[in-house]
Amino acid sequence: MKKFVHDFIVISNKRLNSNHFVLELLSPEPLSTMEPGQFAEVLINGSQDVFLRRPFSIHNADRQKNTISLFIKIVGKGTHALSIVQKGEKLNLIYPLGKGFRLPAHEKILVVGGGCGIAPLLFLVHTLHDRGVKSDIILGARSAGDLLITQQFSRYGNMFLMTEDGSAGEKGLVTQHSMFSKGSFAYQTIFGCGPTPMLKALDKIATAFGIECQVSLENTMACGIGACLCCVVKTTTGNRCVCTEGPVFDTRELDGWYQPIAKCYR
């Protein structure tokens, strides 16, 4: 897929809560084709302490408006600098990068997002929806106030909410949703994004049910295009670049992930 370097124009910068915001960016040229799960490398000006670009998943795309959006959590210098960009400013992006989610032909899909991990999932369920697939979506957060943009998600699928304090939906971690403890399990693929412990727990569930699980990783990156080899993850076939062979991986490819129960007990 051809990559582009473009100056996008900030259309809006919407603060969701104290440390999350969404940027809507207008492309100067017709949007490239993109897969959900792909990302962009964003150049950050105006901060003495940010040297490299920063990778962010494509949160959503609107081909009518020719815009993409980024869903960003403020965790450090770069994300802070982005949180204060103003409407009308330009942001230089390299995009679309990496390999996204492999969309299955079947319809029995569960999408699970925890915390900031919801970033690439909106574009995923949006795309599935456009293909006529209404996914089931579990979104989890600490408490009701941290459950952001659930409404956008609900346009594209059936929502199940989880909060650690029980203030919305079921109480617990996303991976403790009651559907997982029922005898029967309707899904053939789980798509997950969120903190690594959550992804590993999801993988365990998939392993237990013997189904496919695709997760999106967030390894630190320098180039984002496969040139530096900084972003590798250990796979069953050796170190592979998250930026070009991921960020989405089938957990069966990941070394130390997806261990069939059978194997463990033999």
């Binding site: 295009i225 080899l229 170190n239």
Partner: protein
């Protein structure tokens, strides 16, 4: 039209702008951005005797105007290079140079010998910053004796242009440069990364899996420039300047300090077009200063 051509020993470069090993992959990673017809050359990523997995993740840490890397020479080995990679890069419309690494003199020799047989690779760059396993891990490039031993061994069997890439983590770079030149290197390139370290204070852990790593980027430019100048003063062979170059002014500074050509590394990550912008900027500089050929600027620093 100003003359940007550069003669680097036997190599005729279209212009002095090349890409640094390990920062430009095998070139195809940049195919959507860079027109190879516009580059002086590319140095592809390091090749070792056999397949190497490299170091565990994390391999990268950002620093003030720089970055640390701990990639650890991940590559599939010389045979894979010859069979699978060479065919894909051999017809690039630019000078393609291989970067040769190893942990023993024998490994360097084995790789260099096979590289010698590749028609469209007119030169190798010997990366002597790798740890010398036989001498307890200090890099080959940090003592004159070991830098000489590897240069001598490779020189014997490598018939084309031999570039030796120096490590900056030394007390006296000029001394190492001279001793490598004495062994028949055709050209020197410097600098490789500086040894550095990053710590995550919150986690109280090193950021890199290997604790220390190689520092690159604008942060090291003043050190690189100094070393190029020191080396250019003592050796008669051409020098390629590397370290923190991100615009034409930086490139011109290295050339004035004595570099015949320059390599751009980390800056590619930030701006994939940077090499082409540097070529344009050098041309613009020549115009502005009314210099006919960039070669006139090599070592042309005016020191009273």
């Amino acid at each position: 039209m100003r003359n940007l051509n550069i003669k680097l020993h036997d190599l005729d470069l279209r212009n002095p702008v090349m890409t640094a090993s390990g920062t430009f992959g095998y070139g195809w990673e940049y195919e959507d951005f860079v027109d190879m017809n516009r580059l002086g050359g590319i140095i592809v990523k390091a090749t070792t005797g056999s397949h190497r997995e490299g170091n565990p993740y994390p391999r990268m840490a950002e620093t003030a105007m720089g970055m640390l890397n701990a990639v650890g020479l991940q590559n599939k080995g010389i045979d894979y290079f010859v069979n699978e990679i060479y065919p894909k890069i051999k017809d690039y419309p630019t000078c393609v140079i291989a970067n040769v690494s190893g942990s023993t003199v024998e490994e360097y020799e084995a790789v260099a010998e096979k590289m010698n047989g590749l028609e469209n690779i007119p030169a190798i760059e010997l990366n002597i910053s790798c740890p010398n396993v036989k001498e307890g891990g200090m890099a080959f490039g940090t003592t004159c004796a070991s830098a000489q031993s590897v240069t001598r061994a490779v020189r014997k069997l490598y018939k084309k242009t031999l570039i030796v890439k120096l490590s900056p983590n030394v007390t006296n770079i000029a001394e190492i440069a001279q001793s490598v030149a004495d062994e028949g290197a055709d050209c020197l390139s410097l600098i490789n990364t500086m040894l550095g370290m990053a710590i995550d204070a919150e986690k109280r852990k090193p950021v890199l899996s290997t604790v220390t790593g190689g520092l690159s980027g604008p942060a090291i430019k003043p050190i690189a420039l100094r070393m190029v100048w020191q080396v250019h003063k003592v050796v008669k062979i051409p020098v390629i300047g590397i370290g923190g170059i991100r615009n034409a002014t930086d490139a011109i500074e290295f050339i004035l300090a004595g570099a015949s050509a320059i390599q751009v590394g980390t800056a590619n990550f930030i701006d994939p077009f940077v090499t082409m912008k540097i070529v344009d900027g050098i041309e613009e500089y020549l115009d502005r200063h009314n210099v006919a050929s960039v070669a006139e600027l090599i070592g042309a620093l005016r020191v009273e």
